[in-house]
Symmetry: C2
Subunit: 157 residues, 2 copies
DNA sequence: CTATTATGGATATTGCAGGTCCATAAAGAT
DNA sequence: ATCTTTATGGACCTGCAATATCCATAATAG
């Protein structure tokens, strides 16, 4: 139950791009050296960020990366989901276990007309999904620009 | 970024124990059959739950497991942390990277007298820790008994 | 004593995060 | 045109943690 290292790298990379001049391209060399990771590995992460529309990339001499949109439009959630994916944190795997059946013995009849329930009514899943939602919501409210602003405010205090 | 299957099993096992009669012992055989997993594997999980004081175990004939405390004193967080551990979801691994140094160029001098800062002032880490805290807090507010109560209320509606 | 049941160590299996290498494509520089 | 620089994506390797099984041992009821 931990964020992958790649997620950390993605966050740090995006933050650095946000600090760079608008329109300025940052190469993988510079980025990798700054973060202290190999170029080949970081390039994979950057590639994903590009596919998901977080950054833009330019090949060729004096190419590199830049943010694809304003830093205040990029949330922590955006960056994290690029690397971590978008699957639910808790998935029901034992849907055919006796216990699951028990939990829904009453609901089975109720869902006769719908044809599917998929654990929608299960309170265990509801709690787990709720917990995830708390975190997701928080991460969605915090942007990259937000961090930069706060950092600036702190250093000039 | 997913909860392990073991976490799911632990939750389901505890819930079943909570539904059983107080003072009644449930064997690993019954429990494993109910959840649809092997006895040997589930016993490992149960053993952890015992070590952390969630359940009590009795060896010998007519032995088995029972809750070590009332179900309304057992939170989701308690059970989850038994399996998942208690490490932070985001850990700073690149503390010696150039970027980290940059982030703390001003703070370095400020922390001369303390001797350590360990990223306390970093806003990236602060956001990530904040997100985790949101989830942890939510999981701490939801007990096993809470799910049972809601389930009972739903079935009699 | 015997049957039953949990425990913990050892060990296999598997999936995946972490990481490298290289052939290719795109774009600027000459 | 050609060369150099730079990103891209496929193939691949590696190590470790989650998953899973087996067994020898201990504890307990009858
Ligand atoms: S969490 Fe609920 S829906 Fe999912 S398997 Fe368990 S009982 Fe079924
Ligand atoms: S998250 Fe902050 S404290 Fe952690 S390594 Fe990055 S800059 Fe340093």
């Amino acid at each position: 139950m931990q964020f992958s290292k790649s997620t950390g790298h993605a966050l740090h990379a995006v933050i650095h791009l946000a600090r760079a001049e608008r329109g300025q391209h940052v190469g993988i060399k510079e980025l990798a050296a700054l973060l202290g990771v190999s170029e080949s590995y970081l390039s994979k992460i950057m590639s994903k960020l590009r596919q998901d529309g977080i950054v833009r990339a330019m090949t060729g001499a004096s190419g590199g990366y830049e943010l694809a949109k304003s830093a205040n439009l990029i949330t922590f959630l955006d960056v994290i989901q690029v690397v971590e994916g978008r699957q639910k944190m808790y998935e029901c795997f034992n849907l055919d276990s006796q216990q699951h059946q028990l939990f829904f013995e009453s609901e089975e009849q109720a869902s006769q007309h719908t044809g599917h329930h998929e654990g929608n009514g299960c309170l265990v899943k509801k709690v787990m999904d709720g917990a995830e939602q708390q975190m997701v919501h928080y991460l969605q409210q915090h942007t990259i620009q937000g961090v930069l602003d706060s950092a600036a405010a702190t250093s000039t205090k």
